[in-house]
């Protein structure tokens, strides 16, 4: 229960969400991730640490570099991942519907 709450706290932060979005498509080193943000590098490291502790990110050693990648399985367990996707379309279509209803009245 606690872990679950922590995970949602972890993804409540916009920078951490942006980090998850970045590594969703490819694994990246801490340096590569940090280069996408204006924030100081130790701050980004702290975010990476929190995401790793929550097991949303996994570290993989590749030679001398440590790569971060998304623990998709865990993310799926934590939140039903199809739901945000569905919600995004639902919101879009709701908007379409309300815009076209007004359009009709013109």
């Amino acid at each position: 229960m606690n872990l679950r709450r922590d995970v949602f706290q972890a993804i409540a932060d916009p920078t951490r969400r942006a980090i998850l979005l970045l590594v969703a498509s490819q694994s990246m080193t801490a340096g590569a991730i940090a280069s996408n943000f204006d924030t100081a590098r130790p701050t980004v490291s702290k975010h990476l640490q929190i995401l790793t502790e929550c097991e949303l990110l996994e570290q993989k050693q590749n030679g001398r570099e440590i790569y971060y990648h998304l623990n998709a399985k865990n993310m799926k367990e934590v939140a039903d991942f199809i739901e945000p996707f569905r919600k995004m379309w639902d919101d879009r279509f709701n908007k379409l519907e309300s815009i076209m209803k007004k359009y009709k009245k013109k």
Binding site: A72, R86, W89, D90, F93, I99, M100
Partner: protein, 154 residues
């Protein structure tokens, strides 16, 4: 509340189907896809180009809350008013390959209509990645919902 928008994503398939019923006559639903100003409004995007015809193409530019610009584009393969649109879709400057979209528009009653959108991805893995992409917005909403639920528990 009934979920108006449904997603059907079968395990082990490289496609998904989005369906939605609208309280709109078919012609109005289709118009929302046809006119660039309307597309811009409901998609929340800048429409740089929209040639709704066979061999036509489109190009959208969306600005995220962080101020970054994202480009989406594709080619129109079929455009039959009030019936169907077949097109490709690509998120530019991302590792995601283009996807193929089949949109079918149906009349239900004089005032209601239905959209069926079949999206075919390059592989099962890409489809699952698209579904799992933690859309900033989506996560925010999931988080808000959890907060709502947990605040009621207090």
């Amino acid at each position: 509340m009934e979920r108006k928008t449904k997603i059907h994503a079968e395990d082990g398939k490289q496609e998904l189907v989005i369906t939605r019923e609208f309280d709109l006559p078919l012609e109005l639903l289709f118009k929302a896809y046809d006119e660039p100003e309307l597309v811009a409004q409901w998609m929340g995007t800048n429409v740089l180009k929209l040639e709704n015809k066979k061999h036509g193409s489109y190009h959208f530019e969306t600005t995220d809350p962080m101020g970054n610009k994202h480009h989406f584009s594709g080619t129109i393969h079929a455009f039959v008013p009030n019936q169907k649109i077949t097109r490709t879709f690509e998120m530019e400057n991302t590792p995601f390959p283009a996807q193929l979209e089949f949109l079918e528009f149906e009349k239900l009653t004089d005032d209601t209509s239905k959209l069926t959108m079949q999206i075919v991805y390059k592989s099962i893995e890409y489809r699952d990645q698209m579904l799992q992409l933690p859309f900033a917005q989506g996560i925010n909403m999931a988080h808000n919902r959890i907060q709502e639920i947990t605040s009621k528990l207090k």
